[in-house]
């Protein structure tokens, strides 16, 4: 949006934006009470976006571009990664920022295209429910994950990463 709005520079030069001051307040899109939330959301999109570029590029590089790439991804690979608190924190931050960034983007799109109040309400209810479920589920998975699974006899299972051998025995 900012890319096409070249008129935005005019007020800074002392020229008022078109029709400013001549519109009945009831037709104005901006609502003073929701102003600060939208401002916080706008800043959040830029701050989280910049962080996500780093978080996701490193995530993609370390999982797909080094070692055996896509073929190395299995239970033991995930277990090996989450044995390191740095990767736990990395994935947790990525989960929260990406979900909130994506949810706010979807909220913007719903506001833009769903014209009926009831449609907007329904779509946003579904969106926020899905977001809550995914964030809570993902957070629990990262923190309750058990990498060194043993069978009933107490022996380490085949899927366990190699570092488990020193932990169990």
């Amino acid at each position: 949006m900012t890319t096409t709005n070249s008129e935005a520079v005019l007020p800074a030069q002392g020229i008022e934006a078109p029709r400013s001051g001549r519109i009945d307040p009831k037709y104005l899109r901006s609502n003073p009470s929701s102003g600060s939330f939208e401002m916080v959301a706008w800043v959040f999109m830029r701050v989280s976006g910049a962080a996500l570029v780093v978080l996701i590029f490193v995530h993609l590089f370390s999982n797909l571009m080094v070692g055996e790439g896509i073929h190395q991804i299995d239970f033991a690979f995930v277990a090996g990664k989450w044995a390191n608190p740095v990767w736990q924190f990395w994935d947790l931050t990525m989960l929260w920022l990406a979900m909130l960034h994506g949810t706010n983007g979807m909220r913007t799109i719903i506001n833009d295209y769903a014209e009926k109040d009831s449609t907007r309400l329904w779509l946003k209810s579904i969106l926020y429910s899905a977001t809550a479920v995914i964030i809570i589920l993902g957070t629990l998975v990262i923190f309750t994950f058990e990498p060194c699974l043993v069978d009933d006899a107490g022996n380490l299972m085949d899927y366990a990463p190699s570092f488990c051998e020193s932990v169990v025995n």
Binding site: R46, L60, M65, D74, G102, M106, I134, L140, Y159
Partner: protein, 114 residues
Amino acid sequence: MWSWVGHRITGVGIFFFLLVHVLDTSLVRVSPEAYDAVIGAYKHPIMIMGEIGLVGAIVFHAFNGLRIILVDFWKQGTRYHRQMLWAVMILWFVTMVAFSIRHLMIFFEGWEGF
């Protein structure tokens, strides 16, 4: 205008993949067998092409997003927004050539056939 449309479409696509990706990763809490079976689907040739498409969407959204940040916060941002869009497209192309070659080479090296 088209960069704005592209940003929206890639954003929505990435969002839905993210929902699926958290769900498939959550299978590590179900059982190693369940996780390995589902993640195995990502190693199918069709999914390899899908991954290149997904990374293409992510890389465009990332670079164009950085351009939006520069337009908003950099003094000369609005003046150079068009040049920056060219930079986004060139960087996207270079990144995607590198990613696609590496991803396909790794895929063919370890591929055991259908």
